[in-house]
């Protein structure tokens, strides 16, 4: 920190020196500015990117004024990817459907190529590092609009940018989607800074959380109660693009999603497979550990599949499973796949997580391998396809987004911000 402060002091001293050498209003200063502009013009791609962004922001501002008069800045840990069914992606697509303009800031690794600024109408995709370098450029570009900032992960670099967003009347929503501390403890989310998350919990105008467990956890830390906004369903995920036939077992189980050892209970799945050799278990997804290269013959790993193909694989299954470990990292999870399985008409047996609120009778929760197997037997007999499907369709992302925005309108902090910025918010 001392080094940083010293560097800043030196930088400020040099700036002061420059100001004296090139005083405002002088010919020398005009020449300097002209030279700087020329250098930028003939310089590198980055300068052109900034200029392009500058004009895109102006375009987006006038576009938003003609549409819903609302702009949402999304702070996302991942890129916007149609083939990923994450919460942030789904919420963003719902916003676009509602004619809301989105500035989508995503995390990228050093030297990783940026996505094109515009891939879809109404969404401007920008790497997070650009926001951190010039936050004012983004937050000051949207006067006269309703402005929301949806924070999907507690990026510690957001301290300064949030102060600018506050001053410009942006309503900040911290959407707690995971127990980040638990993720950090199992070697994920290396960037996590618990103090910054606490700061965000105090400072955000609106708090939402995906699961009652996360709400409880937050209430234990601060004197605020987040609004529950569970995960949801993109109804089109249950559409079958074409029939894909898979070999069947006496009972066929299936799972799609991330296969990280941090929460996927591999040992239980192996025990289930070994104890029930006539069953077939299909795994669709990624994050598959090489430690499980030698799977029993009744576990079939299909690899990662595009989202629009998932339903065609799942139609071969009798029961969908969510075999998660009973650990903190999964405890706060509300797997999106639960809603998707139900929309596909499948009964669900899970462990380590809870059933979605209202969907308890369609999702059996096992406590160990034996109960998991028992519940699979019960689930196979269950004939509630339409009820499962109907429940899932009450949980669409469209409704979730409505809940999220109504929470935003009800908060007393939001009333305060509206008072402060009047017509500007």
């Amino acid at each position: 920190m001392i080094i940083r402060i010293t560097i800043n002091k030196i930088r400020n001293f040099l700036m002061e020196l420059l100001k004296r050498m090139f005083p405002k209003g002088s010919c020398r200063r005009r020449l300097l500015l002209r030279a700087r502009d020329k250098l930028e013009y003939f310089g590198h791609v980055e300068a052109r990117s900034w200029r392009r962004l500058d004009s895109l922001l102006a375009e987006f501002n006038s576009y938003a004024k003609k549409r819903n008069k609302t702009v949402v800045t999304v702070i996302s840990p991942v890129r916007l990817d149609k083939n990923e069914g994450q919460r942030v992606t789904n919420l963003t697509h719902e916003m676009i459907r509602k004619d809301i303009v989105v500035l989508f800031f995503y995390w990228r690794w050093e030297n990783e190529k940026a996505a094109p600024f515009i891939e879809q109408r109404g969404i401007l995709q920008i790497p997070m590092d650009m926001l951190l370098r010039k936050p004012a450029m983004f937050f000051r570009s949207f006067s006269g609009l309703r402005k929301f900032m949806l924070i999907e992960y507690p990026h510690p670099g957001m301290y300064g940018p949030m102060a600018i967003a506050n001053a410009e009347g942006w309503i900040s929503i911290y959407d707690v989607v995971d127990d980040w501390a638990a993720f950090h403890q199992v070697g994920q989310a290396h960037w996590y800074d618990p103090l910054f998350e606490e700061y965000l919990l105090e400072q955000a105008d609106v708090l939402t959380a995906v699961h009652p467990y996360l709400i409880e956890m937050i209430e234990g830390k601060i004197q605020r109660s987040p609004v529950l906004v569970p995960n949801g369903l993109a109804p089109q995920v249950s559409d079958i693009d074409k029939y894909r036939r898979l070999e069947k077992g006496t009972i066929t189980l299936g799972y799609f999603g991330y296969l990280s050892e941090a929460w996927f209970d591999w040992s239980m799945v192996l025990r289930i497979a070994e104890g029930n050799p006539s069953w077939l278990i299909y795994l669709v997804g990624y994050g598959f550990s090489s430690a499980y290269d030698q799977l029993p013959s009744n576990i079939v790993f299909l690899g990662k599949k595009p989202r629009h193909q998932l339903a065609s694989y799942a139609q071969n299954w009798d029961v969908a499973i969510i075999p998660f470990k009973k650990e903190a990292v999964a405890r706060g999870a509300d797997p999106i796949k639960t809603y998707e399985y139900l929309a596909m008409g499948l009964p669900v047996v899970a462990s380590g997580v809870e059933a979605p609120i209202g969907g308890e009778k369609f999702v059996r929760i096992a406590s160990d391998t034996a109960s998991f197997v028992d519940m699979v037997h019960q689930a196979v007999k269950e004939e509630t396809v339409h009820e499962r499907n109907r429940f899932a369709r009450t949980c669409t992302w469209d409704r979730r987004l409505d809940t999220l925005f109504s929470a935003s309108l009800d908060s007393n902090r939001v009333h305060c911000k509206k008072f402060l910025f009047g017509e500007a918010q």
Partner: protein, 351 residues
């Protein structure tokens, strides 16, 4: 009578807004006023509708038109003293000396009785500073700073924030002593937890967040400190109304002011205020009546008066009301403009 106000920057700032108000009001008082800026900027919007009264140009360009005016007013713009206007330029300049920054104040040493007819300051304290800097007998007059119209309008009822807000407004530099506010907040949090601290300001230096964030963490006020970085001045009256309605107050920890505008503006919105006891605050805050004063060199001495105000709703409300009454009496824009017009006419008569 034609007057030209000269200022360096055409930004969206306090000086430009005061100028706008003057260009609107002074003609009604028999003074035709225009403004000259040395550098163009985003502040043009402030002068919508009266664009013909503002000019942007270099010192050289200014020299060629200055003879069209009876008086020229430099608003802390030292560049004008390099002008050699010849015989006709003599004693037509007035200096509005507002800067509280020691290194900038030194420009006053350059002014001479040949060029300058008078120095105007916003407080007795600033007059004394001016006196200490000049070695020639130039008349120094105190002309009250006008409050902006939005601050004078009737205060509004704001929604509840949920807990009292202690507000600090200003430039985040050493002179305004934002770190004193952090220390004070740290001390206050030891006494009560149900309070929010609002830091409404920005710094001209880069990397201020790299100083503020670790300090806020270190002083255990991280989550309680709300930072609004560079709020547009038009929203400040609303901020003050919200602070007042939260049951909170506005505090200054400044180590140097020429007047103390942020505290005056807070008083205009009926906010209770706590400010350093040194001049110039003591010129318009009556300790125990329209606010509380504390030892500016020891911010922790502000804790007691702040606690008293937070605990006593009646005292806080009464103090706020008395503060508004007192500050409007002296600094209402209409009254301040009349005083400025009178002073300008008096100076011109004496030339």
């Amino acid at each position: 009578m034609r007057v030209l106000f000269v200022y360096k920057y055409l930004t969206i700032g306090g000086v430009e807004t005061v100028l706008r108000s003057r260009l609107d009001v002074l003609p009604k008082l028999g003074v035709s006023a225009e403004a000259w800026f040395l550098e163009d900027g985003p502040g043009r919007v402030i002068f919508d509708g009266i664009e013909d009264l503002i000019h942007v140009g270099t010192i050289r360009e200014l020299t060629s038109v200055m003879h069209d005016y009876d008086l020229l007013v430099s608003m802390d713009t030292e560049e004008v003293f390099d002008i050699d206007g010849g015989e006709g330029n003599q004693r037509r300049w007035i200096v509005e000396f507002h800067t509280p920054y020691r290194d900038v104040q030194s420009y006053l040493k350059k002014v001479s009785t040949k060029q300058v007819a008078a120095i105007l300051t916003p407080s007795e304290y600033q007059s004394r500073v001016a006196e200490s800097l000049i070695d020639t007998p130039i008349q120094i007059l105190v002309v009250p700073n006008p409050l902006r119209r939005e601050f004078v309008d009737e205060p509004l009822n704001a929604p509840s924030w949920g807990e009292p807000i202690i507000g600090w407004i200003g430039r985040m530099d050493e002179l305004k002593n934002w770190k004193g506010f952090i220390s004070l907040s740290h001390e206050l949090l030891k006494r009560r937890r149900d309070v929010s601290f609002w830091l409404i300001g920005d710094s001209p230096s880069n990397g201020i967040e790299q100083e503020l964030e670790p300090l806020a963490r270190d002083r255990d006020i991280y989550g309680r400190l709300y930072w609004f970085r560079n709020v547009d001045h038009q929203f400040i009256p609303r901020f003050l109304d919200l602070i007042r309605c939260s049951g909170g107050l506005v505090v200054s920890t400044s180590l140097g002011e020429s007047f103390g505008m942020t505290i005056a503006e807070a008083m205009a919105r009926s906010c209770a205020v706590v400010a350093p006891g040194d001049s110039p605050f003591s010129e318009f805050v009556r300790d125990g009546s329209s606010g509380f004063l504390f030892d500016g060199n020891r911010p922790s001495t502000a804790v007691e008066p702040i606690m008293r105000l937070l605990d006593d709703d009646t005292m806080r409300t009464c103090m706020g009301e008395r503060g508004r009454e007192a500050i409007l009496q002296e600094h209402h824009p209409a009254g301040a403009a009349v005083k400025l017009a009178d002073v300008l006419k008096m100076i011109l008569r004496k030339l």
